[in-house]
């Protein structure tokens, strides 16, 4: 049995793990990064990147269908699935090559193989023992299902959905969260009939309620069906499709059922508990500085309870590397991390919803304003509708921004600075936003909350 020694050993080379590795080597540490599959993890190979490629192909399909509204004569003739696949895989393979090159250029040692934590400071990979002064757990997540709902055949998860070599005629989606509505959006644009089943009363139930309602309205207009507030009971598969039975007795027939009910942490059988790590419902419990409590042992990314997002993984990875280096990095709470749902229309948010802000700061201490994109020139040009809602503490900072509408995702960068720096709307008001942009809609909301509305009453 051979042994390798590093300042830091990282188990898992996804967003969280590889970001930790990149930052750690910059800070002068030697790093061993253990990955059993492909560097880049879920996000690059089966998550963010491929889904967003599909969503852009979907946008192109919509543009060709709707071209006449803008004075462009064009005919939409269908989806060429192999070409979509080539486009999507071209992006992944180029990004993958780039990432491998970066990891190599930075001098990170990659250990290929399945690792297991065998001591608080050691990971076993085959017959190698990889020892680190510090160890970072970053084993990520997998597509969960419901108890009794087995994946297989026509019952699929996002992994299989990405690999489909055809556009289904009719598809049912269990779960109206981010992944569910993104696939619904893609498939509808590709020509499928889509029905979403969500047990909670709203689509994207983690968003501000007014945003959820607008998404529901927009999806209805697009012809995407959904059943809200009703639970799944069972599914049966037959030769041409599936029949889903709900607890209220309704049935939904489709060619496929996509199960998108969330992602579970990959922590089982990896020796975490044995090393003294607290594991709760599969998640690794850490303090707010991402320490497991076992000295020198940290966790980052989707295995840490909270938002499961790639950039949270990056942020946590960088944070832990800096923490180990004694740089005392600042904590960014999950609530202040930007969230984007890339369906059409897009949703983007950061900070507290109005209700949560009222809970935290007191209902009479909070104001909000929701600017309708109908007033925004650029949104009109894009023929999109939606709104931007900003929540502030009275005589205090902006604590939440909630947006829906075509292309609003990119507006979150500005909102992220405002919320994280606890800016007052009055701080932003003097800077008029470029015209005509969707930025301006955010600007109008800030202006209104600073009591100087421009294009609003």
């Amino acid at each position: 049995m051979s042994e390798q020694n590093f300042d830091i050993v990282i188990l898992g080379g996804g967003s969280g793990g590889y970001a930790a590795a990149l930052r750690a080597v910059q800070l002068g540490f030697t790093v061993g990064l253990v990955e059993k599959d492909k560097l880049g993890g879920t996000c690059l190979h089966r998550g963010c990147i491929p889904t967003k490629a599909l969503l852009h192909a979907a946008e192109i399909a919509e543009h060709t269908r709707d071209a006449a509204r803008f004075g462009v004569r064009a005919t939409f003739e269908g989806i060429d699935v192999p070409a979509v696949t080539a486009y999507r895989e071209g992006i992944i393979s180029s990004k993958y090559k780039g990432l491998q090159g970066l990891i190599k250029a930075r001098g990170i040692t990659v250990i290929e193989g399945e690792g297991r934590l065998v001591a608080p400071n050691a990971v076993q990979v085959g017959d190698q023992r990889i020892v680190g002064k510090n160890v970072i757990l970053a084993t990520g997540s997998y597509s969960r299902s419901l108890p009794g709902l087995e994946i297989g055949g026509r019952v699929i998860t996002s992994e299989q959905a990405l690999e489909l070599d055809f556009v289904p005629g009719k598809v049912a989606i269990l779960g109206g969260g981010v992944i569910g509505v993104e696939f619904a959006s893609v498939w509808k644009s590709f020509g499928a009939e889509v029905t979403i089943i969500e047990a909670l009363p709203h689509l994207v139930p983690n968003e501000e309620e007014s945003i959820s309602k607008q998404l529901e309205r927009a999806f209805r207009k697009r012809g995407i069906e959904y059943k809200l507030g009703v639970r799944f009971q069972s599914v049966s598969q037959h030769d041409d499709g599936v029949v889903i039975t709900l607890e209220n007795g309704d049935t939904v027939e489709a060619e496929l059922l996509l199960v998108a009910v969330g992602r579970g942490p990959v922590t089982q059988g990896l020796g975490y508990e044995e090393a003294g790590v607290t594991v709760d419902r599969g998640f690794v419990i850490t303090d707010e500085r991402l320490s497991t409590g076992v000295p020198g042992l940290y966790a980052v990314g989707d295995i840490v309870p909270g938002l499961q997002l790639a950039h949270r993984g990056f942020q946590q990875g960088i944070f832990v590397a800096e923490e180990i280096a004694g740089l005392n990095p600042i904590i960014v709470e999950d609530v202040n991390i930007p969230k984007i749902t890339y369906c059409e229309p897009e949703i983007a948010s950061i900070g507290y919803s109005e209700a949560k802000a009222a809970e935290k700061f007191g209902a009479d201490q909070v104001s909000s304003y929701e600017y309708n994109l109908a007033g925004n020139g650029k949104s009109h040009i894009l023929e999109t509708s939606g709104s931007i809602k900003v929540v502030r503490v009275n005589d205090g900072p902006v604590v939440g921004v909630h947006m829906i509408g075509g292309r609003v995702g990119e507006l979150i960068g500005e909102a992220q600075l405002a919320v994280n720096w606890e800016a007052y709307p009055e701080d932003i008001a003097p800077f008029l936003h470029a015209h005509p942009t969707q930025n301006e809609a955010l600007g109008e909301a800030f202006l209104k909350l600073a009591d100087k509305p421009l294009h609003a009453l």
Partner: protein, 71 residues
Amino acid sequence: GDAAAAATTVAAEHVVPRPERPRSTPPVRKLARDLGVDLESVPGTGERGLITRADVEAAASAGPAADGRPT
């Protein structure tokens, strides 16, 4: 255990001092400039010595620089 000791030593070797400057958030620094408040002279009462908006406003209403807003 060992790992902890190692972690601390490593930490000590790797501390990179940040450039010194009054610690506050950009909008508060901007407010201070607009109010003519010199941040060097403002004690920070926020987390880890962060100069808060209240600190700046207090300095502005107390100090002689309160009218230093550029005209």
